[in-house]
C-alpha cells in the first residue's frame, strides 16, 4: 500500500545486506510503519490471534512427532507414552489438542467479523478467497490430526469422512480404496495421514503469507467500512496495533490455557481413550465441535450423494460471497436489515452445531433440515435481495469524522 519506502539505515552491516536484499526496508514498511485505519476494534485482533495459534500448533506438533509412532499397533500406546512418560508430554499434547479447538475459535470469529463488516467486498475479494482456502486446508489438517491418536473416535471419524468420497458416482469406490491404501482404514491410511498432517501446516503458513500479502496490497477494512482518505485516518501498525494485538493474544491465551490446565479433555470425546477397533462402531459417532454444523448439513439430506454435495457446497458458496452480496456499503453498522440477517446467520450456525451433536432422531431431523435450508437461503436469496431493497443509513465522510463524532480521539 505504501509502496517502496526509501529508508536510510545507519548500521553498515544492515546497509550492506539491504543493498543486496531489501529485507529491512520491507519489514519496516510492512510490519512497523504500515498505515492502518485508526478505528479498528478488538474484533480485528483475531487474525493475529489465529496466526499465533498456527505457530503454536506447528511448534507443539514438531515436538509431538519426536515421541509419536505412526503405526496401528503402536500409535495409541505412543500417545499414552507422551501423556505419562515424556517430560512435560502431557502439557505439549494438551496444548496441541486444545490448540486446534482454539485455532478454530479464532478463525470462526475472524470469519464472522469479515461477514459483519463486509471485508469480502471489493477490493478484498482475493484476500477473502485465500481465507476460504485457509479454512479448507485447516479442516483437512484438523481431520487428519484427529486420526493420529488411533482411538475409537479417531478410527470411525476416518471411516465416515473417507467414505464421503464413495458417494461420487462410478469412481467413488476406487477413490476411497486409493485414499485408504487398502480395503478398509488401516496402517497405510494412518501413515499417509501422518505424512500429510505434517505437510499441511506448512501449506497453511504459505497461504497465510499470501493472505497477508493480499491484505497489504489493499489495506485493512475497518468497522465503518469506508476507505482510508488521508494520513489522518491511519496509525502506524507499530506500536499501536502490535500492542493491541499482543494484549488480545494474551487474553485469548488466558482462556486457552484455562482449558489446557483445568479441563483439557472437555472439548474431546471420552470414547477416544479406547483404542481403535475396526469391528465395533461406537454407539454415537460425532466429529469435533468445529465440524458439527457441517456434519448436521451432511445428515440433513436423506440421500448419500445429496448430503455430501450440500456439505461441500456450504463452504464452496463462500468463494462466491463477494458477488452474492452486491450492496456497495460494507459495514453492517450502516445496513440495518443486513445486521438483522447477520445475527440470524450466527444463530443458525450455532443451532446447526447443536443439531450436529445430537443423534439423528425425532425432531432433530426436521430442525436440521430447516437450519440447513436457511443457511443457503441466506447466501443465495437474502444477500442478493438485500442489495436491491435495503436503504443504508447515512455514512460519515471519513474515518476520522466517524471516530470524532462518536467522541473518540
Amino acid at each position: 500500500m505504501s509502496g517502496h519506502a526509501t529508508y536510510e539505515f545507519k548500521n553498515p552491516i544492515v546497509r550492506w545486506i539491504e543493498a543486496r536484499l531489501p529485507i529491512f526496508s520491507v519489514m519496516k514498511a510492512q510490519a512497523m510503519d504500515f498505515p492502518t485505519p485508526r478505528n479498528l476494534n478488538y474484533w480485528w485482533t483475531f487474525g493475529g490471534i489465529a496466526a499465533t495459534m498456527l505457530v503454536m500448533q506447528i511448534l507443539t506438533g514438531i515436538v509431538l512427532v519426536m515421541h509419536y509412532t505412526p503405526h496401528v499397533s503402536m500409535a495409541f500406546d505412543s500417545v499414552e507414552g507422551i501423556m505419562r512418560d515424556v517430560n512435560y508430554g502431557w502439557l505439549i499434547r494438551w496444548l496441541h489438542a486444545n490448540g486446534a479447538s482454539f485455532f478454530f475459535i479464532a478463525v470462526y470469529i475472524h470469519m464472522f467479523r469479515g461477514l459483519y463488516y463486509g471485508s469480502y467486498k471489493a477490493p478484498r475479494e482475493v484476500l477473502w478467497m485465500i481465507g476460504v482456502l485457509i479454512f479448507l486446508a485447516m479442516m483437512a489438517t484438523a481431520f487428519m490430526g484427529y486420526v493420529l491418536p488411533w482411538g475409537q473416535m479417531s478410527y470411525w471419524g476416518a471411516v465416515v469422512i473417507t467414505n464421503l468420497f464413495s458417494a461420487i458416482p462410478v469412481v467413488g469406490d476406487p477413490i476411497v480404496q486409493w485414499l485408504w491404501g487398502g480395503f478398509s482404514v488401516g496402517n497405510p491410511t494412518l501413515q499417509r495421514f501422518f505424512s500429510l498432517h505434517y505437510l499441511l501446516p506448512f501449506v497453511l503458513a504459505a497461504l497465510v503469507f499470501l493472505h497477508i500479502w493480499a491484505l497489504h496490497v489493499v489495506g485493512n477494512n475497518n468497522p465503518d467500512g469506508i476507505d482510508v482518505k488521508s494520513e489522518q485516518d491511519t496509525l502506524p501498525f507499530h506500536p499501536f496495533y502490535t500492542m493491541k494485538d499482543l494484549y488480545a493474544i494474551l487474553v485469548f491465551f488466558l482462556v486457552y490455557l484455562a482449558f489446557v490446565f483445568y479441563s483439557p479433555w472437555y472439548l474431546g470425546h471420552a470414547i477416544n481413550f479406547a483404542k481403535a477397533d475396526p469391528m465395533v462402531t461406537p454407539p454415537h459417532i460425532v466429529p469435533e465441535w468445529y465440524f458439527l454444523p457441517f456434519y448436521a448439513m451432511l445428515r440433513a439430506v436423506p440421500d448419500k450423494l445429496g448430503g455430501v454435495v450440500v456439505m461441500f457446497a456450504s463452504i464452496i458458496i463462500l468463494f462466491f460471497l463477494p458477488w452474492l452480496d452486491r450492496s456497495p456499503v460494507r459495514s453492517a453498522r450502516y445496513r440495518p436489515l443486513y445486521r438483522f440477517f447477520f445475527w440470524l446467520l450466527v444463530i443458525d450456525g450455532i443451532f446447526l452445531g447443536i443439531v450436529g451433536s445430537q443423534p439423528p432422531e425425532g425432531w432433530w431431523i426436521p430442525a436440521g433440515r430447516i437450519a440447513t435450508t436457511w443457511y443457503f437461503i441466506h447466501f443465495l436469496v437474502v444477500l442478493p435481495l438485500l442489495s436491491q431493497i435495503e436503504r443504508p443509513k447515512p455514512m460519515p465522510a471519513s474515518i476520522t469524522e466517524a471516530v470524532l463524532s462518536r467522541g473518540g480521539h
Binding site: G182, F183, P188, M279, T281, R299, E361
Partner: protein, 190 residues
C-alpha cells in the same frame, strides 16, 4: 533483419512446441507412480481369502469375522426371519438389486439371491454379508431396528433380515462378498 527472424521462427516454433510437449507429457507420466503408490499394495492384495465353518452356529446366532480388514456378518437365521424376508414384496425395497458379488450385477434382491454362493448353491439358513453400512461405512448392530435385521447407529439406516436397506440414508443393500461352499457348512470367502 525481419526476414531473418521470420525464417528462423518456424524452426524455433517447432523446437519450442516439441520441447514443451515432451516436458508436459513427461511430467504427466512421471506423476502416475506418485499417485499409484497410494493404491492397495501387494501385501494388502495378498490377504484375499478366509475359510469359515458355520456348523457351530446355533439358530438365531451370528458372528462377525474379519476378511480383508473388514467385518463380515455370518448369521444363522431363524425360520421367522427367513419367512419375513421372503414375504417382502420386491416393490417395497429401496434397492431392488441383490448386491451379491456371486451374481450378475442386475440380479433382483430376492431373499434367495441374497444367500446364493458363487456356484449357485442356496442355503437360506446362512446369510453372509459384509458388515459395513453402505452409507458411510459404520458397522451396523445386529437384531436391531424396525425390521429386526440390522440398524446403523451412525446415521440411522435400517436393514431387514436379509440385509436389505429399508429406511435411512444408505443407498444400497449390505454387500454380499464373493464366497462358495466347500462342504455343507464350510465356506471360503474371497
Amino acid at each position: 533483419m525481419t526476414t531473418f527472424i521470420d525464417q528462423e521462427a518456424s524452426r524455433r516454433d517447432f523446437l519450442f512446441i516439441a520441447t514443451g510437449t515432451v516436458g508436459a507429457a513427461g511430467t504427466a507420466l512421471a506423476l502416475w507412480p506418485f499417485i499409484d503408490q497410494m493404491n492397495p499394495d501387494a501385501s494388502v492384495l495378498a490377504l484375499a481369502s478366509t475359510e469359515f465353518d458355520m456348523a457351530p452356529l446355533a439358530e438365531g446366532q451370528g458372528v462377525t469375522i474379519k476378511w480383508r480388514g473388514k467385518p463380515v456378518f455370518i448369521r444363522h437365521r431363524t425360520k421367522e426371519e427367513i419367512e419375513k424376508a421372503k414375504k417382502t414384496p420386491l416393490a417395497e425395497l429401496k434397492d431392488p438389486v441383490a448386491r451379491n458379488a456371486n451374481l450378475p450385477p442386475d440380479a433382483p434382491a430376492t431373499d434367495e439371491n441374497r444367500v446364493k454362493d458363487a456356484t449357485g448353491k442356496v442355503n437360506e439358513k446362512y446369510l453372509v454379508q459384509i458388515g459395513i453400512c453402505t452409507h458411510l461405512g459404520c458397522v451396523p448392530l445386529g437384531e436391531a431396528g424396525e425390521y429386526h435385521g440390522w440398524f446403523c447407529p451412525c446415521h440411522g439406516s435400517v436393514y431387514d433380515t436379509a440385509g436389505r436397506i429399508r429406511k435411512g440414508p444408505a443407498p444400497r443393500n449390505l454387500d454380499i462378498p464373493p464366497y462358495k461352499y466347500v462342504s455343507d457348512t464350510k465356506i471360503v470367502i474371497g
